[in-house]
């Protein structure tokens, strides 16, 4: 990777990254709080890349010889030492490999760049949820008493899936009992649930690589489930566990649906 190419590679990647942060498209991959770090990193890469490009395209005679980055002595040579290449038998190979200061492995940066320009994959969806078969549970709260639910809107309380799951698993007072709630998520069809589907939304800590699927079984549809990855607002009531002695995740999380509306995918697809 020679000087001008280094510059273009860095500036190009930086531009795409900064644009992701600016448009909000980064939310398909990262947590909301990563917006500013991502923007800063993208802009820093644009600045570094532009400087590198400018420097590489300035004719050689305008740069003092001792400033050429590929002519430097190894780091550990003291300033007064004569450049003694015999001490570093591998040094020549190193230089050849790093023709003009740029490591060849840097070409691989083209892959994420192309991925962000060509493939532009959406958020994790039903395909990923099917691969992840372990039951994810939000961290168990140390308290077992939950605050009262918020006031209903249009006859139902809006709840994130994670909150619904915590209350279903851990609430000794069964605060969900009999209260109409409204949940938002996408459809993951499951042959084991003929009368419904798994309403799913991913919980992100940092990025999609650490995502955990939050899933509520929606039942009582009376019609075939919508297609996978359809986003829905579902209104219904919590179904208490069949076995009242069950604890935690074993209590399950089931919603008896009363109505559901298809909605466009939210700007932030994760919780």
């Amino acid at each position: 990777v020679n000087g001008p190419t280094q510059g273009v590679l860095l500036a190009g990647t930086g531009t795409v990254v900064a644009r992701l942060a600016a448009t909000g498209a980064y939310l398909n991959y990262l947590k909301e709080g990563m917006r500013f770090p991502l923007l800063a990193a993208g802009l820093a890469m644009v600045a570094l890349g532009t400087l590198t490009l400018v420097r590489a395209l300035v004719p050689d005679d305008e740069i003092p010889d001792d400033a050429a980055p590929d002519d430097a002595a190894p780091d550990d040579a003291a300033p007064g030492d004569p450049p003694d290449r015999e001490d570093h038998p591998g040094g020549h190979v190193h230089h050849d490999h790093h023709a003009h200061g740029g490591p060849r492995v840097a070409w691989l940066l083209v892959l994420p760049l192309l991925g962000l320009l060509l493939i532009v994959p959406g958020p994790l969806g039903a395909d990923a949820a099917r691969r992840d078969t372990t039951a994810a549970a939000p961290p168990r709260a140390e308290w077992s008493r939950f605050a009262p639910l918020a006031a209903p809107r249009d006859g139902a309380v809006d709840l994130p899936l994670g909150v619904f799951l915590s209350r279903a698993y851990y609430d000794d007072d069964d605060s969900l009992g009999g209260v109409p709630v409204r949940l938002t998520g996408f459809v993951v069809a499951d042959p084991a649930i003929p009368d419904g589907y798994r309403l799913t939304r991913y919980l992100l800590t940092c990025c999609a690589a650490d995502a955990m699927p939050l899933q509520v079984v929606v039942q009582g549809l009376g019609s075939p489930p919508p297609a996978d990855d359809t986003w829905l607002e579902v209104v219904g009531t919590w179904v208490p566990p069949a076995d009242p002695t069950a604890e935690g995740v074993d209590r399950g999380a089931v919603l008896a649906v009363t109505s559901q509306v298809e909605i466009p995918p939210p700007a932030n697809p994760y919780e």
Binding site: N2, Y29, L38, L48, P64, D76, H95, H100, I119, A209
Partner: protein, 326 residues
Amino acid sequence: MATAVREASRRPSLVGLAALGGAQILAVVLQSRLASWFDAPSFKTWSTIFLSICLQALPFLVLGTAVSGLIAALVPPRAIGRLLPANPAAAVPVAGLAGVCLPGCECGSVPIAGRLIARGAPSPAALTFLLAAPAVNPVVLVATAVAFPGRPEVVAARFLASLTTAMVVGWLWLRLGREDLVDRARRRVAPTGTRSEVFRATAVHDLLHAGGYLVVGALAAATLQVVVPTSVLDAVGDAGALAVLALAVLAVALAICSEADAFVAASLTQFSTTAKLAFLVVGPAVDIKLIALQAGTFGRAFAARFAPLTFVVAVASAATVSAVML
């Protein structure tokens, strides 16, 4: 011969530049058509995870290479060696505690550790810093406390086991490691010129270098996440020592950030606390993304010895601390 090669590359060779520019223009023009070719659901899942790992690590990598550039521009050679205790064995705990104060991520600490070695830090101390910085900094400990509410002993155990791992590996490296294994970092060409030019050249070199290896690690981690079914975990969930080993291996394969791993560990409800602790101690010290970054910075021969050593020490340290504290 080296001179000939360098003379050749000094000529304005714009082929690579033109190819890259052309590919970018083509990509923008063909975006909608190409997007439909990549529609297979499993491919999309894979690429979402791959890009997430790259994007998540990028800000920390940029920060790490900026620090590396600052060290190269401002710190005179060998000054770091003089800051540390002269006895290399005593320098190890100092480096470990320095890691506690520096909130960073594993991706950022690799180029910093490489630059520290290039600037004359003894390799055991630099490697202890490399292991400690991402594992025991305040951000990670707070995240762990949030993921394990009401269980401060898990936070304490993580702190103790990770710091022990970092220092034991440093001391073992002092006895067993060979300096020639980190030669690649020591031999790195240091740009000369004005301070700002040294900063620019070092930061660009480290960013391109570590960035390339980050892509290697992200490719491997995304593939493992998509290909290996999580149901293999259910089989070993209550199998004692095997479960500890299983979560340690999972930490290597998943390659998630140290700020996030506590939440993933907490969600693995079928596993013992000892197994979860092993997951938390191994993850920031050795994972597939880090192995790629370390191979790039220090060389493959280094990574082939350092990764297994760290893995064994981390699992042993987690098991011991867990037996005493949990």
